[in-house]
Symmetry: C2
Subunit: 434 residues, 2 copies
């Protein structure tokens, strides 16, 4: 199975991950060759600014300023796209590379989430691979595991902590009692959050990853546009404290479920039981839990991002191609991906937590419980911790299993009550089987 000719690589994007990939290949050449059955040879690199100091000797590689030109003209077997972004250079260069018969390895979740299906068709047409292990949870080989390790199974559902920035912020908030804005500031200073953090904290990054995992796991055509997305900006210390009191931690989860009628795909904060495996995943760690019909529950945990884990995932894809392990982009040929609709959030059922700020006067509780009754929402508990006549106090209610639509109707009725002093805060509750 040995191949005497080295596999030629062209790397577009020389940021932290790109340089990480170069470093690993430069230092571990021999061991990677043994594992891939042939040598790996970087022949070309590309970035906007050649003069920048990158603490890495790039002098023996052809330099390109333009990734699209490198994708077209270089003699590489694999084009490695580490530029980022769903459009522009990233998309153009990947399309060009596929069309010129090069395999593509990418860490770009936005690109795969938005254009994965068309790019998979393009890869197929050109008889090359498009792989993206680094796009989801760099420290967990979750793409390979779902695509290959669980290939005997129909996967019915999956859920996971898919964004390390959010998990870090919420871990620190819970441990210190500090507010969101304050912890976000600190995370930005520490480099755990971007200057413009909205992709992370508004749940978009997690949604990109969830759409990818759902397509792979369910064999469905990727559908990012219809993922329900809610971020963590509105999480407050008050809700974190109430969660703890009720036996939960709040996590930003991506959750997907395959049903006969369609696919559920949601990203939103969830209260998870304090003893569940997913609750133990803290800080910058990610985790993915899958349910397969034969294999049962599989849990994987590892670092979400960073130079080492992401470079490791990129190189694992490269070694697979070197060793002739060349998978279909979404596990099966594109014409066999199922075109199943993403179901709207209103079709969901679940358990709910609602926190109200209520002006404490006689009859308020009766009005709230009447609104729930009128929408057929079954109350599990209602808690008002302290009295403060005439001023707003926090009232928390939790429900039994109920429909999202019914619950939202009840919430809208409650919001209109005169005694409610601010927007009610809904957080969904999850109780996993294991």
């Amino acid at each position: 199975m040995q191949n005497d000719k080295p596999l030629k690589l062209a790397i577009a994007g020389l940021g932290t991950v790109g340089i990480g990939v170069v470093n690993v290949i430069q230092s571990y050449g021999e061991i990677l060759s043994a594992r891939g059955g042939r040598g790996l040879e970087i022949i070309a690199v590309c970035a906007r600014d050649k003069t920048k100091n990158r603490d890495c000797d790039l002098s023996q590689y052809d330099w390109y300023d333009d990734a699209v030109i490198m994708a077209k003209n270089s003699d590489a077997d694999i084009f490695i796209e580490l530029v980022g972004g769903s459009e522009g250079i990233a998309k153009n260069s990947v399309e060009t590379a596929l069309n010129s018969g090069k395999h593509v390895v990418t860490a770009n979740k936005a690109l795969i989430a938005h254009h994965g299906f068309k790019l998979a068709q393009l890869a197929e047409k050109n008889n090359v691979c498009l792989t993206y292990e680094a796009a989801v949870a760099g420290g967990i080989p979750v793409i390979k595991t779902i695509r290959e390790g669980l290939s005997a199974n129909k996967i019915s559902s999956l859920h996971g902590i898919l964004n390390g920035t959010c998990n870090y912020i919420m871990t620190v908030m819970r441990e210190t009692g500090r507010k969101f804005d304050d912890v976000l500031d600190e995370a930005q200073q520490l480099g755990y959050a971007e200057a413009d953090p909205s992709f992370d904290i508004d749940g978009i990054d997690a949604a990109h990853k969830l759409a990818i995992l759902a397509s792979l796991a369910f064999g469905t055509k990727i559908d990012f546009d219809n993922v329900y997305i809610e971020g963590i900006r509105h999480i407050t210390p008050v809700d974190i404290d109430f969660a703890a009191e009720l036996g939960y931690k709040i996590k930003l989860l991506g959750m997907a479920e395959n049903t006969d009628d369609g696919v559920f795909q949601h990203v939103h904060p969830v209260m998870v039981p304090i003893n569940s495996p997913i609750a133990a995943v803290e800080g910058v760690y990610n985790a993915v839990v899958t349910e397969g019909d034969f294999i049962g529950t599989t849990v994987m945990e590892g670092k979400g991002a960073g130079r080492g884990p992401t470079a490791s995932a990129v190189i694992a894809d490269i070694i697979d191609i070197a060793a002739n392990r060349q998978p279909a982009t979404f596990g099966v040929p594109t014409d066999q991906l199922i075109n199943k609709p993403t179901l709207p959030m209103e079709k969901c059922t679940g358990l709910y937590y609602l926190r109200l700020m209520v002006v404490d006067k006689p009859g308020v509780m009766a009005d709230i419980t009447a609104a729930l009754r009128d929408e057929n929402v079954s109350l599990e508990a209602i808690i008002q911790r302290r009295r403060n006549p005439g001023a707003p106090v926090a009232v928390v209610l939790t429900t039994h299993e109920t429909g999202e639509a019914e619950f939202c109707n009840a919430m809208n009725r409650i919001e209109k009550l005169e005694a409610i002093s601010e927007t009610p805060r809904l957080i969904r509750i999850a109780r996993f089987n294991d």
Copy 2:
């Protein structure tokens, strides 16, 4: 990447896993073909007793009574060995299959642990695959993950709960306070333990799996014979209670570490911090934790065994071969596996728990602590919970980091003290980084 000819399978062994594999292929033919890029076709099966009722239609397959003859004569592309045992039929039939140019997929950890290296050479010589995902933790694709998912990394160490029977027994013992023999009896009645349970409870099964993981992870020639093995027969409710008091749970772990001088490979009961991820893995679940230099800590958890998970793992191997993903048996060509010695247990260092039954009289504690001092063992704590003058009471001591050899010398000195009324009970303590 499609292949019009179906991949032909011959299955040796029609027990719970063999029939599980037949069932999955019979019911999921279409989806498995999509994932493997070609059809799967069972052409032959083999077991000792053709007349046995197996609740499964086998009539369309060629029947063999002799696995070696099926391995030689059938027209299969893959020979699936589910007979079990490290010698005899299993070994002979696998050798015959490889020599006749068939790929081999097996769930047989004993076979791989004892003969994996020679069989890998045979596979290489015949240019076919020998794969064994089902041999270790059926519900966790850990072989694939280490071999391919972590292929960019040097793995420095790994540890795991590798035997579901032991984990089940110790979980029930801790939860109920019942004794080992009692819980083992029940586990046998429930089918969680074999009639002859020694392979499981004496740690041999876990050691087979550990030797396989260590070879794959470290790129070393497999060395089962030198794994240090201690089982769980001697674990008592007293030690489980003391562990809880000290903040630990007792787990049977397989642990391997790659050092410059050689490889450590141990299977023995370990006290693990109650908040560590591995402590949360209960019942029949398995878990494997790896430390890679780039990827960091990766944790995988799933069911250890059973029809569904094991059949799932066997079929994942089959689909890989169908899709032309055909790995080297231990991740690299056999001539590149490193011949590194397994280091003896005495070279280890660690933390220790020792429980003594001591006749409570003046001067005993002084004698015990003197023995530790004389062997340069640094005491962390010594606990005697109640006094019972003239009769034996439990005394527990824990150490700081110390050498295994020094600790055992001290233990031998202590055992000879007149006041010690039964064999001291040593349990090693692990504190993992994460």
